[in-house]
């Protein structure tokens, strides 16, 4: 149910954008107003979310330790999985953010049913998640060629690397293929793995379809229904130099792409996609296991009702005495 409704919603947005891309007045809306709104909502919303997380303190020191603690010097300490210093935490976080270490832990190769080595489907979850996120990052950086003039050298370099397999013109970019494959894999996993399907919400599918729509429209524009790149760059550069313009001759497909991207940016701060910022703040990962070495302070600590020794001794006075245990007050 939620699969179809989210798919239809994305398709409706795409169709509206396509139709609008043909007509005159709505092009200004989609080419200028919507993108500006999207950027503002994205930056403002994400900052708000992060600051709101930051506002809630971390009262207790609760890292999840995944290896041997640092204790006796001759015991082999797992400094990466159980860091005791800031440096170790940084490295642990880097592995988590850049390589999805915990998700990788999930997958394991095993000898099952005889000598055939079998990888669980979890390996593919890790691989496709990694492939998707890295492709997205590279694609984002590549898009700087539209937003920056003159085009920085590293962007051109990155594109050259991405187009390493000189197939066809325009050059086939590896990340284009990878991101589509990864997204499709994640989608089919959500649909086919019954556990994941059971837990999936409308919003999970919506995000996936939105990303797929963006990737598809991008690929269509690059390889199949070519658009006028000079005009596209005019629009993009117009946006970032605050001299917005929507020249005639920009194809409707471009508006589909731009509109879906804008929608994604608007949707971002209100959705689970904020995990991008959240991962850095996760107290089970970003704290060192040094709670016995350094005192962690709880900012909202308050006094609680306790049962003091004096109260205890008073209540059990005779029994303590009879047992021959020392007393504070005879």
């Amino acid at each position: 149910m939620s699969v179809f409704s989210s798919l239809i919603l994305v398709l409706v947005f795409a169709a509206l954008a396509y139709a609008g891309g043909l007509a005159g007045s709505s092009r200004w809306f989609m080419g200028v107003i919507l993108p500006y709104t999207a950027i503002l909502v994205f930056l403002g919303g994400l900052s708000y979310r992060v600051l709101r997380w930051a506002k809630s303190p971390v009262p207790f020191h609760i890292p999840t330790t995944c290896g041997q603690q640092k204790s006796l010097p001759w015991l082999k300490w797992s400094w990466l999985e159980n860091p005791q210093s800031k440096g170790g935490v940084l490295l642990r976080m880097a592995l988590e953010v850049l390589l999805f270490r915990s998700l990788f832990r999930n997958s394991r190769a095993q000898f099952l049913d005889g000598p055939r080595l079998r990888y669980g489907e979890e390996k593919f979850l890790w691989l496709s998640a990694l492939a998707f996120h890295w492709s997205l990052l590279i694609i984002l950086i590549r898009h700087l060629r539209f937003f920056v003039s003159p085009v920085p050298r590293f962007v051109m370099g990155l594109e050259a690397v991405d187009g390493f397999f000189q197939v066809s013109a325009p050059q086939l970019l590896v990340t284009d293929v990878v991101i589509l494959a990864a997204l499709l894999f994640l989608l089919q996993r959500r649909l086919r793995n019954p556990q994941v399907r059971y837990i999936s919400l409308f919003t999970d599918y919506f995000a996936l379809f939105l990303l797929l729509g963006i990737a598809f429209s991008g690929v269509l524009m690059r390889y199949f229904f070519r658009v006028d790149l000079e005009r596209v760059k005019e629009v993009a550069l117009g946006l970032v130099t605050f001299s917005p313009t929507v020249p005639a001759g920009v194809g409707p497909l471009f508006f589909v792409h731009l509109t879906l991207v804008s929608l994604l940016l608007i949707y971002f701060p209100f959705s689970k996609l904020v995990h991008m910022g959240g991962i850095f703040l996760s107290p089970t990962r970003n704290l060192a296991n040094d709670s016995r070495v350094k005192r962690h302070v709880n900012p909202w600590d308050y006094p609680v009702k306790v049962h003091t020794y004096a109260e205890w001794e008073e209540e059990f006075h005779d029994k303590i005495k009879a047992a021959g245990l020392p007393l504070e007050r005879e």
Binding site: W53, S149, T241, G277, F280
Partner: protein
């Protein structure tokens, strides 16, 4: 609470990086103005409508290449009935020069140098070399 400093710093860093196109644009005084091209003096029409050439000149060149190399077919009949010789240096470069025309847009839009020049020679350069 010391971690809030780190979080805010991280957030600011992120914002700085992500808004790079904006502040770079301001700093470089960039405008959205597309490059001014050197247009041919003696010709008014191209081999195809301008809107087509804008999006698909590369496709046309590839079509020409295939036609010439694979089928030995060198004549191209344009949309308005004119017949052209399928030749990059002979036909295209007669009107358009690489530096003043091709490169300007390619650089502007960050489209890498296509591999045309692996085989073909820019006539302008060739002339400089000749004497």
């Amino acid at each position: 609470m010391r971690d809030r400093v780190w979080i805010v710093a991280g957030l600011l860093l992120f914002l700085a990086v992500i808004t790079y196109p904006f502040w770079h644009g301001v700093e470089a005084r960039a405008t959205s103005q597309p490059p001014v091209l050197v247009l041919p003096a003696h010709e008014k029409e191209c081999v195809a409508p301008i809107s087509y050439m804008r999006t698909s000149h590369m496709k046309l060149l590839l079509d020409w290449r295939n036609s010439v190399v694979r089928n030995d077919q060198r004549k191209y009949v344009s949309y308005d009935g004119k017949v052209y010789d399928m030749s990059l240096t002979g036909t295209c470069m007669k009107c358009h020069e690489k530096k003043g025309f091709c490169d300007r847009c390619h650089e502007y839009a960050g489209v890498g140098t296509p591999y045309c020049w692996n085989c073909h020679v820019d006539p302008a350069l060739a002339e400089v070399k000749r004497p």
